[in-house]
Amino acid sequence: MMRMKRLTVYLKAYKKEALIAPFFKLLEALMDLIVPLVIADIIDQGLMASGHNILIRDFIFLIVLAVAGMGFSFVAQYFAAKASIGFASDLRQSLFDHIATFSYRQLDKLGTGTLITRLTSDINQMQTGVNLALRLLLRSPFIVFGAMIMAFTIDVKLALIFAIAIPLLCLAVFTIMLKSIPLFEKAQMALDKLLSNLREDLGGVRVIRAFLKEKDEIASFDADSDALTRINVLVGRLSALMNPITYILINLATVILISRSAIRVEAGLLQQGDVVALYNYMAQIIVELIKMASLIITINKSLACANRVSDVLAIQNEMVYGENDLETEKTETAVSFHDVSFSYDETSEDALEDISFTALKGQHIGIIGATGSGKSSIVNLIPRFYDVRKGSVEVFGHDVKEYSKEQLISLIGVVPQKAILFEGNIRDNLKLGNEDADDEELCEALKIAQGYDFAMKKDGGLNAHIEQGGRNLSGGQRQRLTIARALVKKPSILILDDSASALDFATDLKLRQGLAALKDMTVFIVSQRSSSVRHCDTILVVDDGKLVGSGNHEQLMKDCEVYQEIYYSQFPKEQAS
């Protein structure tokens, strides 16, 4: 219930619409329910010799009912659309903004795939669900029971047939539906399996051909395909029952109704027109029941989506930030770690253990070590992307937890491992972290990042279009733009997280020379390449989450075994001299 409450808040803004829509839908249904009575009146009163006036009156009445029904329905559709779309739009915006508050840890846990589905198809499905529910959820039961009540006003004894037939019909419709829902899920699973099988085939086509496995892959696809067909045929057989069974039930009820009526008519308790009216009510019931069954399937789907969206909204960012801007000029220390231990997840092992080091303003700090040793973890703690488990991280003499989010981010420029660019032009991408930068500043950053020449060669220069994800650029070009993007922020601390890997050695070298010229900036260089870090003021050597060495290249070559191992694996011994 808590889960739904988080969402119904968004419907509250459209309370008026959400009430008007079903109300007018009921009015429309009422029009439908009156029709058989008018027909009965035509038969019973209008067919008398003197009935011409009554006939005309009833005819006009029928037309009025038709037009009024349409009008009521228009009103209902309008408000249902307004409420459901408004609800979905507001929810989408909130969810989008809510996701933007998640910490790295929460993003790791949730995964982007899920979040995108929540924002798109789940909310769309909810919009459809709300729209249908507002219009039809009340209407169908109203007509079913309305028809029964009308039947009671005509003839109580005969109405009992309705009272028996309706539960039986409900039973048939809902049993078949409930039985097929789990089968539908199974079919979906079989389909997913087939899809991933084919996706795997397409992804590994070279390996499959190199190993001559085409026939085996065909066989395994066929097996999955067979399984899917079998379950689909089974589901089909079950749903095929719906129509015949309801058809038999409703017609049996009608037959009984008319035979029973005969006795009542004979006894003078009922008129022929009333029989026709009862017959018409029976026909209305079945149409509405079938509508209701499909409506319930849709609403069921929407509820599942609603639960998933609600679960995401329930997640709160656990990080607390400082409020005031802090003084950062007075200290000589840029970054210092004090006995920092850190894990990505409460339950998992520590990714970092007891790390301590100090980086002075303007220094270049290299971080080297194997994959998974914790290099990136160290730099991720500086802008407080994650919180430490133990110890503290200080930036310019203050614990990172004391900074406001905005100030801390403004101090630090990050170049992430993955060189990601947004769709748009080069200028917009470079200004991501500093909207006020002018073209001159952008060009300067590009020059340092070794991206100026290629950017200027592009059609339009800074206005050159970048496709989504930067697909129209090479890996090296993307990396150079992401480095420039961080430099445009004019950060006091720059973090290069293995972000020059796609650069050839010559460009890598020029980049390092360019950075060396920016005297006041503290630079962290994470790399696997010895050549990228060997000229740093201090090199931190990380192995399995521990700091196993720190010092400059010459010191480490003397006394750090891990550093030597890395170095010699890249520079064979005879060359290293």
Binding site: I56, A81, S89, Y104, E200, R206, V207, F211, V276
Partner: protein, 576 residues
């Protein structure tokens, strides 16, 4: 591909189900006629009640029996028809899928490389479903609709000509209303789809890169950009949803007016003694449902058009040009000498790539391929393994032109380890035995030991029986498994792809050792990143931008003072 040709091909495909299809149509026609007759019987039953004093109980019972019989039989027919339709529809889908998977395995890589996997998936799975369901069920509905209209018309006519003509004349009204709304809402739906597409693109981009947004404090701008698109979508949706939802109430209103007119006309006829009250109930219930098949048919037509376009997409795949047929000649156990003679190759005619490439490798030689990322090493692999054919010139193995021997026999002589590791979602054992499915556990373990993978395999929760999932192994471990896979096969020629930075030093050393064990005595092409591999190679091919620009031994290339020596030296250049 136009609609008729798709239809013809499809008919050919469902040919074997034609008897079943005809049976289903026959059953459907019978069921419709019977169901249409039921209201007539109810009308007659109501007429039995006309004379209050003298109700015709005998006829009433006869009609009751008839109704029950007809209802039961027609229900049975309906059920059988649905079951048969289902069966045909799913069998046809399965036939298409079977054809498609066989096709995919027989297509040249140039086709698969140039068509995104998602597109092919959509054709094989989504389009096949839509085609079969849309076409078969749609066709059936269409047929049933036409039968319903004809039968209704006949029964109405048998009751009263004038009223039938009234209904017939007024029916197009509800069509016109529906058509008017549909044409108006079409542009609104287009606008909605466009707005939604834009928003989805933004969502994809932003949510996938939330960390980047956090690192650059871009949240507010992102939210503003989202809000703009969200507002557009909201306006477009409101129009499309509201306007299109007017169809039902409007057509219903038209139908209700027709209903009223029929009621009035009937009443006058009854007074004139030309119709009975039972007839009135029959005509009213027909008037009520007469428009339904028309509406069904118009929606079915859209569905059919949609299905045909899916069909066109499927046939485009099924009819794509296959690989040239394999020559009979087999390459038996190769020694491993490779000649590349005057080879020209390019992916696109307008962009020349490899031109007049000549090269010779003796059996057992190691050849390093060197160059920056994206330099075109896959091109070379594509040609050696004959994933692509050369434009002109020949590649020879042991003196045999590879175009003149069967592809399987050529590939059997190669072992390939790529950096983008590909493993099946299956057990470790199945993955290692990928190229030799009859391998015993002893052989597998021996190969794993030689490839340095046994150490970690042993520590997996279920050893060789562990099922490999996407994230259960590290990149390095995956690569060791790929090496083991080749180690088990022991082919005379190798294509290896050295790891770049994603693997840690220790694993990298293990991989290096495994590579060395593999390469002993085998002709091997190594995409090299490590200096030691490069320096120890018998020959070095230097590639850049897809072209082979230099070739020779390390010393020769250094002496040349060209691209290679620049690349090599930049590693050692000092900062100052």
């Amino acid at each position: 591909m136009n609609g008729t040709s798709v239809l013809k091909k499809l008919l050919k495909m469902i040919g074997k189900y034609l008897p079943m299809l005809l049976l289903s149509l026959f059953l459907s026609a019978l069921a419709v006629v019977m169901q249409m007759y039921v209201p007539v019987l109810f009308g007659k039953m109501i007429d039995c009640l006309a004379d209050l004093k003298n109700i015709d109980h005998v006829s009433l019972i006869t009609y009751t029996k008839q109704v029950i019989l007809i209802v039961l039989v027609s229900s049975l027919f309906t059920y059988l028809m649905s079951v048969i339709n289902n069966r045909i529809s799913y069998k046809v889908i399965e036939d298409i899928r079977k054809k498609a998977i066989r096709k995919i395995q027989a297509l040249p890589l140039s086709y698969l490389d140039s068509h995104p996997a998602g597109d092919i998936l959509q054709r094989v799975i989504g389009d096949a479903d839509q085609l079969s369901e849309g076409l078969l069920l749609g066709f059936n509905q269409l047929f049933a609709g036409v039968v319903t209209i004809v039968v209704t018309f006949y029964f109405m006519l048998s009751k009263d000509t004038m009223i039938t003509l009234i209904v017939l004349a007024l029916t197009p009204l509800s069509f016109l209303v529906a058509r008017f709304i549909a044409s108006r809402s079409y542009t609104m739906f287009e606008a909605q789809n466009k707005a939604r597409g834009k928003q989805t693109a933004l969502i994809n981009e932003m949510v996938s890169n939330e960390k980047l947004i956090r690192a650059f404090a871009y949240e507010n701008t992102a939210s503003e950009r989202f809000a703009v698109l969200n507002k557009d979508l909201r306006e477009a949706s409101q129009g499309a949803t509201f306007f299109s939802s007017l169809t039902n109430p409007s057509t219903r209103a038209v139908n209700n007016v027709i209903y009223a007119i029929v009621a009035l006309a009937c009443a006058f006829k009854i007074i004139a003694g030309q119709l009975s009250i039972g007839d009135l109930s029959v005509l009213l219930s027909y008037a009520n449902q007469y428009t339904k098949p028309f509406n069904d048919i118009s929606s079915v037509v859209t569905e059919l058009q949609n299905s045909l376009s899916c069909g066109a997409r499927i046939f485009e795949l099924l009819e794509a040009e296959e690989l040239s047929p394999d020559p009979e000649a087999e390459l038996k156990d190769a020694k491993g000498s490779i000649d590349i003679d005057h080879v020209y190759f390019s992916y696109r005619k307008d962009r020349k790539l490899i031109e007049d490439f000549n090269f010779h490798a003796d059996p057992g030689m190691s050849i390093a391929i060197v160059g920056p990322t994206g330099c075109g090493k896959t091109t070379l692999i594509n040609l050696l393994m004959r994933f692509y054919d050369t434009d002109s010139g020949d590649i020879k193995v042991d003196g045999n032109k590879i175009k003149e021997i069967s592809r399987p026999s050529l590939r059997r002589n190669y072992g390939m380890v790529l950096q983008e590791t590909w493993l099946k979602k299956a057990t470790v054992r199945e993955n290692i035995a990928f190229g030799k499915s009859d391998a015993t556990d002893e052989e597998i373990i021996a190969a794993a030991k030689k490839a340095h993978s046994y150490e970690f395999i042993r520590r997996l929760p279920k050893g060789l029986d562990t099922v490999i999932d996407d994230d259960s192994l590290s990149q390095g471990q995956k690569q060791l498994l790929c090496i083991t896979r080749v180690m088990l096969k022991m082919p005379p020629m190798l294509i290896l792809d050295e790891a770049t930075s994603s693997i840690d030093t220790r694993t990298e050393l293990q991989i290096q050792e495994a590579f060395n064990a593999l390469m002993k005595g085998r002709t091997s092409f190594v995409v090299a990143h490590r200096l030691s591999t490069i320096r120890n190679a018998d020959q070095i091919l230097v590639m850049n931008e897809g072209k082979i620009i230099e070739q020779g031994k390390h010393e020769e290339l250094m002496a040349k003072n060209g691209f290679y020596s620049k690349l090599y030296n930049s590693q050692f250049a000092p900062v100052e």
